[in-house]
Structure formats: C-alpha cells, structure tokens
Symmetry: C2
Subunit: 270 residues, 2 copies
Amino acid sequence: MDDGLPASGAQDGTVGKALDVLDMVASKGRPVRFTDLLAEGRFPKATLYRLLQTLTNQGMLAFDPERQSYAPGMRLVRLAHSAWRQSSLAPIARPHVDALAAAVGETIHLAQLDTGQVLYVDKRNARQPVEMFSQAGKVGPAYCTGVGKAMLAWLEPAELASVLARQSFHRFTDYTLDSPEALMAELAAIRARGFAFDREEHEPGIICVALPILTRGERVLGALSVTSTTARTTLTALEALVPRIRDTAARIAAEAESWRFPEQDTKGGR
Amino acid sequence: MDDGLPASGAQDGTVGKALDVLDMVASKGRPVRFTDLLAEGRFPKATLYRLLQTLTNQGMLAFDPERQSYAPGMRLVRLAHSAWRQSSLAPIARPHVDALAAAVGETIHLAQLDTGQVLYVDKRNARQPVEMFSQAGKVGPAYCTGVGKAMLAWLEPAELASVLARQSFHRFTDYTLDSPEALMAELAAIRARGFAFDREEHEPGIICVALPILTRGERVLGALSVTSTTARTTLTALEALVPRIRDTAARIAAEAESWRFPEQDTKGGR
DNA sequence: CTTTTGGTTCCAATATGTGAAACTTGGTTT
DNA sequence: AAACCAAGTTTCACATATTGGAACCAAAAG
C-alpha cells in the first residue's frame, strides 16, 4: 500500500501536464475531488480545471457527478489492452508460463521494468483460476522483489544508475536491502549466481526465486519468478527449480526475439 | 477482426490530438511506422512527428529503434490497472461472477458500455483457466452481442440515440440485426422480456443470454452474460439460467450502489 | 443574513503548438 | 561512384491554444 512515486520528471508541453494529472488521479487509489488535486499544489486552479475537463471528455477520466469526483476512465482499459498485447512479453510468454505453472504448481510472476519499477504483466496462482488484470498492471518496488533484482542485475551501468536513483529503499521488512550499496553488492552476487532470491525482503513469510529473461545480447526483456511461503518451502527447495525456470526464460526470450526481429543473424553488435 | 471505429469526434486542443494519435497507434493491432500514421492523413508531418515524440518520452508509446516503429506503451498498462480497479464493475463483481461461473459451468462475460461499444471487463471460461487480459479490455459491437443489447435496452432515449449513431451495423452473420429499426424492435422486446439473447448474431454457432445490471433507479451499470454454443445447448436451456443470472446481477448492482454511495436513501429523485 | 468553501468562467499576456519547406540520412538505382 | 530517392528530422515565422490571477457564482456553514 505504501507507494511514493518520486514525481515524473521533465514535462513536455500541455500533453505532459495532462498526463501528469492523469497520474495524479490514478495514483490515489480512489475517486478524487477537484480540491484534493488542487491541494497537491502542482497546478493553479484554472489550469487544473481545464486539464481535468479535457481528460474527462476524452474518456481518460470518468467524472461522477453525484460524488463530484474523478477516477481513471475506461478508455484507458481499452488502450491498455492494445499495449498489453503488443508491447508486453505476456502474450508471447503465456504458453511457456502455463507450462511452467503446471510443472511447479506454485505462484508464477512475469514482470517487466517500467520507469524503475517492477510491472507485473502476467501471473499464475498456485491452483485457483488466474486473478486477471487485477494483478497484471500492478506495480511493485524493484529493489526488494525477486523479479526486480533479477532485472536490475543485468542492466547496463548507465541504465542501472538511473533506475537506482528512483528507488525509495523503504524498509518493508527486517530483510529489506535499504541502501544502494547493499543492493549493488546483492546485484553482483546475483549476476555471478545467475538468479535472484527474495528472502522475505518485501513481505514477511514470502520468498521467491527469480531469473531474468535476456536476449542473446544480454539485454533485459523481463523476469520470471516462482513464489512461495516460508511455511511451505525453503530457498533451497526453490533453488532446485532454477533449471526449469531458466529453460522457460530462454524459450520466452528466443520467441520474443524471433517475433520482434523476424530475421537478423548476420548483424554483429547490439 | 472487422473494426471501423468511426473517429473520435471533437478534439479539444493539443491533448485531444495527442490522444487521437494514441488511438491511431493502438487501433492498428501491430507496431506502426511513422509513415503508416502519416498516410492516415490526419496530421501534417511535423505535427505528427512532435506528438509521437511527446507521447513516446511520456511512456504512453514505446518506440522500437530497431524496427523504427511505435506501439502503445507500458505506462498505459499501469494506468489501466487503476482504471480497472476504480471505475469498472469488475472488482466488485468478482466474487459474484465467480459464484455464477461455478454454478453454471459456462463462459461468463461481464461488460460495460464505453463510447457506444461493449467493453469486456471480466470473463470466466467454462472450465479451462481464464484467458486473462487478452479478454478483459477487449471491445466488441453493442448491436449484435447479448451484453450489448441488454445494456442498450435500458438506456435513456437520448443516450440510446447517441449510441445508435455510433453503430456500424456490419452484418457478421445471417442473423445480425443490420438496421437501427430492427434493433429498436429487438430492444423493445428485450425490455419487455427482461433479458436478451444473442442468436448467433455476432459469431456463427455462438449463443448467449444476457441481463443488464441496473441500479434501483434503472440506470445501466453493465451487463452479464452466459455464453455457449449451438452444439452444446439451446436458447431454451440458457433461458433456464435467467433467474440465477438475474440474482447475480442484482447482487452486483446492490453492492456497486452501496459502495459508491455509502448512504443515500431518503433522497427522492434520480 | 453573512461568510466560507468548492467550483466555474473571463480575459489579456504569452508561451506553445503549428506546418510548409528545407534539410539530413541511409539505402537504391543508373 | 554519382545521382537519386524515400523516410525521417529540424527550422522558423506565424497563429493559436494555454495560462493563471482574479472575478464570479452556488451551495453549505456559521
């Protein structure tokens, strides 16, 4: 529930501001009144008002006249459907994730990195039917989740630095790595080892193994994790699953590459 | 696969144009190159170029430098997650839909009306695991689906007129109602009967029963349908499920109302 | 009845967005 | 190679949309 997104950064033009407002509305997890947004102090009254109006009659926001409040609009859901299908790994990965889920019988997460945060794009629950969208689209911290660390570990130094700067290093549990230095050391270990653990760093009792999904050129596409609880299993037991997960990750990567770059073999560099 | 969204309508300011571009990119189901968009003729070169840049570095679009193409960006997925949780019926309806799915063992759809189109916000497959997001967020025609007609039938005249104007009346099958008049007659019948059928109007072999989800004041919140095939069942058999579906719809409506308007009883009118 | 709170509209100043045309860039053709 | 495209990028004078302080209005509170 703790969030704290550290502002978006540069804002280009009116469009940038409008999207900023959209984020403001979305990030409060509930319908917001005009005043709530105004109180944020990011925009003057009239400006905010106009932006809200524009977004509303574009369907990006929904205005509830009874409660006089704004909420993210359904047009976003429509657009996101396209985004998910086209830009995420999920559609490509699905069959492989299914197979993995069937094989290991534990909760699987498929994630990508977005703006320095972990974005879950697909999920399989242990036994019960999939939890849909309510899980896909969710974001989480990168520095204290298995998938997050797995991706960070293979980032290029420049990219890593920029991502690192965005981490809040909030101490969720006693095991949370709460400094860039601690994280850097951990990332080196992960890179050496080839996979990441989550040792109850985000939620007490929750542990996982995670592997990055890498292109042949070692560019990070996403990450895959198997999650369980300390009550049910141990890190050592989870580690036994690594080969299976690695295989799945490799298949996904291969397919993603051949799907996005139909032919490209003779070309050398990145 | 046939689509044909009849343009968005009024475009307010730069933001409107930017969102238009976003739609253009999203509506092609694949990565698009600059020229493809330019060919659409909606915007002059330089303008389109700038809009694309803005959207891209806002994360609303993703640019693939290798293929030189644009696709909807992951920021949309993040935003849509909020939208789905806050503005859709799905989170409220979930337990009820689950129960219904367990009871009837057929495919269930939960839909809402958006811009004159049916927007599926949740789905349960008959037995096999849910088909995820690839279904939630999908849009379909209103005039030839069970959920669509169920919602249209309870719309206020003014609203109905505006929705009607947006229908393409494409003839998907021999049974598709392909004129406003035919549809109006059908809607009257549906209103009288209390529920809607889909008699293979959208896809051959696919039939369903659908009921609207209405507030106490008969305002349309969404619709719920049970779908099957002519091979497996008949309309008459589906009709037997109506009481069960009606009950589910009522529960969802009740919860939606009490959730969105915590207390409000003495107030008279709409 | 006055005041406050929350929301909407005005309007002149100006920052922003516009788009025709000129310019690169990288790949073809002659 | 030189000449030629086509696709993508940048420029720049001009127009327009955006800005935000302040005035305004409505409904609730005092």
